[in-house]
Amino acid sequence: MLDTFVIPLLQIAVLVNAVLVAVTFLVLMERKVMGWAQARLGPMRVGPYGILQAIVDPIKLILKEDITPAKADKWVFTLAPIMSLVPALVVFSVIPFGPDPLYYVADINVGLLFIISVTSIGVYGIILGGWSSNSKYPLLASLRASAQLISYEIAVVMTLVSVVLTAGTLNMIGIVEAQREAGLWFAFIQPVACVLVFIGGLAETNRLPFDLPEAETELTGGFHTEYSGMRWALFFLAEYANIIVISAIVALMFFGGWMRPFPNVEALSFLDLVPPWVWYCGKIFFFLYIFVWIRATFPRYRYDQLMALGWKVFIPIAIGNLVLTGIAKVVL
Amino acid sequence: MSIELILNAVNINLVALSDQLQNLVGQVFVVFIIAVAAAEAAVGLGIIIAFYRNKETVNIDEMSLMRW
């Protein structure tokens, strides 16, 4: 009873809360980093250096009036943000934050496939949100979103397959262990894949330079134009949770997950004093920072350029990488 | 979409039987069926789009003409 229900439930509760809190602080971090990049301070009013902003923002969003447009499809309009948030949170259940069972909720042998398939559900939130608003900008945005997410998913999945080939398992823990055995992070064995997954992740989470479904200056906010209050906040949470997911996947698959750097070098074993989850969170944090950095730097792609990039550049590279990996696997 | 439902019904049967008989052939079949369903969906929807573009309707009754 304790093992089958209580502990997993506790784990889930802790995880979900951790993710949600992480999201609020991620927003604060984004604003701060953007501020520094843009020669300004970012939030400074609430608390010392604006730290409490992370608490004030959700409160404001919860208290805000929740508007449903008169001509919206009310059920779908309510359902859409939930549909985009839930998959983003579910994914965390198979992400191991450390080697022993305490650090993960579930260890299923098709872990990676599970992540891919669950994230593919997330697109519904955006499509339905855009459609149910019964407004033109969101509709255009949701058409963009569906095309974008589907096409980038193909490239990302194909790239991940080449990593799976290298690791020889779909299991998330297995992938990390494979990196220990290889003695090298997969980022060095599969550099192309690493870059591709990260850029594909940018596209799948609708971040600049691929934030077309939102494209504030073109589509006035895209699929969540008509949303306000907590329902909008759910979309927001979903987006940032997805960013964390992508960072977590990249850190796990290419940068050794919870392992300290050079896990096979005995001389560095004092690094083991730092618990594994701290290593992992540190790596995730690094990628989150890169996400923000990219946002502060790049202009936005245009829709057709984005599709051309996905189909004409990423997918061929992904296939090429897959074939090369296959050949290397057979030869070696 | 109804076709998808029917295919799913078949898939459930196949998986159930494969589990029952401890035989993987059923699951292999399911994989094939899913592949074929994907192909069928792509082509079917392509036809619908093409048809809609030309006729501005998706009413089955007006699809009796096999040309446009």
Partner: protein, 379 residues
């Protein structure tokens, strides 16, 4: 046989079915105010873009016909409110032309300095918003940081930061404060280094190139035929700049180049404006260093009453050729007819032409590249 009959209908329908009418604006983050563009879309491709203007029409021209000649300076501030000094300049020079007043050389120099500072400020705003429309957020903050510097200079000069009311018929109300010229030079130095920052973020950025190269191409002939002016015209390779062609203020005394584009696309217009930053800095340096001594106000009667007659006087505002057409009846203390040729308005005409065949995302880039200010379009 039936096939032949069906064919035209089929073609017609194939192009009509998916059209969507999209109202972009008047409340839209990137229509630069209250411009409303009615887009007819085929998917995301723009078939037709119809500008609807008039959302901030205040009847400035009519108001001017009911104010006396001094009060009008203040109204010109409110037209192109991000380049108020240039609007002032055009108006006072037009009246001076009508009255044939001699303006002191020092006043003309300071006017040039103000106009060029204003050009930099206006281009900063353009650069920031244009880049923001295309998604590069940081450039906006950077260019506003420099614009702030210019606004501080203006504040120091006349006390106002946006609508300066900084010129009078016959000269200037104020001489420059002590040390102001040094600070202008210091700004020139700062601005030059900051320009590199912008260029680093945008000029060779692949995404930026992809978003602006070959977008909204317009040939020199078409640009002339459409009555374009300013950077959009020069971007198409037509050399037309009022500062060179019909020099006003003190421009004939300075050396500067008129940058010209070759392709006539959005990227060329971007490069031209960046080059204009540098040319403005060049003019500023020459003007500040060669600033003559003397009075800043010419000999004008207390009550300004130009003789009967009419005049058209253009100046090169940051957005293009800003012209004032003024008719005086010689009797009353207000203009008989007051008409402005606003560059934004004339350039906005080209939007439909530029947008056709491009995507929705390009529309915002094109509105940005035209660099409109709705206060001036509507007046």
């Amino acid at each position: 046989m039936t096939k032949v009959i069906d064919a035209p209908r089929r073609i017609g329908q194939a192009f009509d079915t998916d059209e969507l009418v999209l109202n972009m604006g008047p409340q839209h983050p990137s229509t630069h105010g209250v411009l409303r563009v009615v887009l007819r879309l085929d998917g995301e491709r723009v078939v037709d873009a119809d500008c609807v203007i008039g959302y901030i029409h205040r009847g400035v021209e009519k108001l001017c016909e009911n104010r006396d000649w001094t009060q009008i300076v203040l109204l010109t501030d409110r037209m192109d409110y991000v380049a108020a000094a240039t609007s002032n300049l055009g108006y006072v020079e037009a009246v001076e032309k009508l009255m044939q007043v001699e303006v002191p050389r020092r006043a003309r120099y300071i006017r040039t300095i103000l106009a060029e500072l204003q050009r930099i400020a206006s281009h900063c705003l353009w650069l920031g918003t244009h880049a923001m429309d295309i998604g590069a957020m940081t450039v906006l903050l950077y260019s506003f940081r420099e614009r702030e510097f210019v606004l501080d200079l203006f504040e120091e000069y006349c006390g106002a930061r946006l609508t300066y009311n900084s010129m009078r018929v016959g000269g200037l109300p104020l001489d420059i404060p002590t040390g102001w010229d040094k600070r202008v030079l210091a700004f020139c130095d700062v601005m030059e280094t900051k320009l590199d920052e912008y260029e680093e973020l945008l000029t060779n950025n692949r995404i930026w190139l992809g978003r602006t190269r070959d977008i909204g191409v317009i040939s020199g002939e078409d640009a002339t035929a459409l009555g374009l002016c300013g950077p959009p015209l020069r971007g198409s390779g037509v050399s037309r700049d009022v500062r060179k062609d019909e020099p006003n203020a003190a421009y004939e005394e300075f050396e500067f180049d008129i940058p010209l584009g070759t392709r006539g696309d959005t990227y060329d217009r971007y490069l031209i404006r960046l080059e204009e930053f540098k040319q403005s800095i060049r003019i500023l340096r020459q003007a500040v260093e060669g600033l003559p001594e003397g009075p800043v106000m010419g000999k004008v009667p207390r009550l300004i009453k130009p003789p009967a007659g009419e005049t058209y006087h253009p100046v090169e505002s940051p957005k293009g050729e800003l012209g004032y057409f003024i008719v005086s009846d010689g009797r009353s203390t207000n203009p008989y007819r007051f008409r402005v040729r606003p560059p934004s308005f004339c350039n906005l005409q080209a939007l439909n032409r530029l947008c056709k065949g491009h995507l929705v995302a390009d529309v915002v880039a094109l509105i940005g590249t035209i660099d409109i200010v709705l206060g001036e379009v509507d007046r």
